[in-house]
Symmetry: C2
Subunit: 194 residues, 2 copies
Amino acid sequence: MAKKSEEPTVRKPRADAERNRLLLMETAKTVFADKGSSASLEEIARIAGVGIGTLYRHFPTRDALVSAVYRNETTQLAAAAKSLAETHPPVEALRLWLVQFVDYVVTKHGMSEVLDSLVGGTSELYADSADLIIGAVNLLVDRAVATGEIRLAMDPLDILRALAGGASISCGPAWRNAARQLIDILIAGMRASR
Amino acid sequence: MAKKSEEPTVRKPRADAERNRLLLMETAKTVFADKGSSASLEEIARIAGVGIGTLYRHFPTRDALVSAVYRNETTQLAAAAKSLAETHPPVEALRLWLVQFVDYVVTKHGMSEVLDSLVGGTSELYADSADLIIGAVNLLVDRAVATGEIRLAMDPLDILRALAGGASISCGPAWRNAARQLIDILIAGMRASR
DNA sequence: ATAAATATGGAGGGCGCCTCCGCTTATCAA
DNA sequence: TTGATAAGCGGAGGCGCCCTCCATATTTAT
């Protein structure tokens, strides 16, 4: 589809553009942390000191901005899965990662919407972030299933949906604890043989 | 607080007002079903054929309208808990009710936001609806715990949060199935002794 | 029939979304 | 260095939604 074999007129990308892009992401990050990811885009542009048009040029949709802002977190989460898998027994690794997943969602306060879309999977923008998360959870679940310690007859993603969804309702640290309990019950339920 | 002993000037409530109230609720119900409970209030007023001012007179906040629209459903859900408790063994009754809970949330498509606020408990508007749901789930859980068949170290409401939250992310019939599996795992997890 | 209470509707001010396009600026080639 | 030109900038403008306010219309009670 993409005709890469076009004339490779390689003009160096403009420095000011890249500067603004970073500035906007940084500003958005703090504003989202304050007011959730439904904060006004015009306000973000205002605070960043750029025109609204510039914001839209760099991030054509709200999702594009949100996903860019939280890509770091997603990446870290995926990395954590790998490292936990290497240092803990399968089921424990899974449990710890789920806890960490919830912690991210709760503390980032605004990340839940990301995960909503991410895990809801409507937007193309989240495709790569989604892949990271999906890969992470699958890695851990597969490993635990392989040992025969647990069995799971559903898409692991749906467990994340429940965990993230709970956070988006009961936003705040309260969900942290509730989710931990929930995770324990889920693990126990997956352990139980029929 | 309420000084009921005021002059009981009992003027019959105006008929047109009550008519409009009902009309608005009915209209809102269908619009919410289509577009979720974040649909435009002006559109609802427009479709109902009344002025926007009239809508706001009857329902000062969006929540007031939403909660009025879904009060029926809430009531039915609470009634179902009672009847299931009378006709099924404790754990099975709980399971069936959770399934029904999810079905409501999914099919009403827009009810999830109600439950968000309801179970999130920020708004006073939802107080009585919330009480109904809380009462229902507590009834069923307490019964099952009393027989010693399950144990539960968390607020049952948090289970509903997870179930409803999942629906608000993965809105659609897909969640129906996922939630069923989730419920089975949860029940199994609650059954497992330590 | 008339007064008093009640309800109506929509204009208006505010805000956020997003597009469009004339102007500015950075890059590159000569 | 100096144009030429692609790339980027910004904000005005159109639209829709939120919510308030109040002059007008309708209903009830006397």
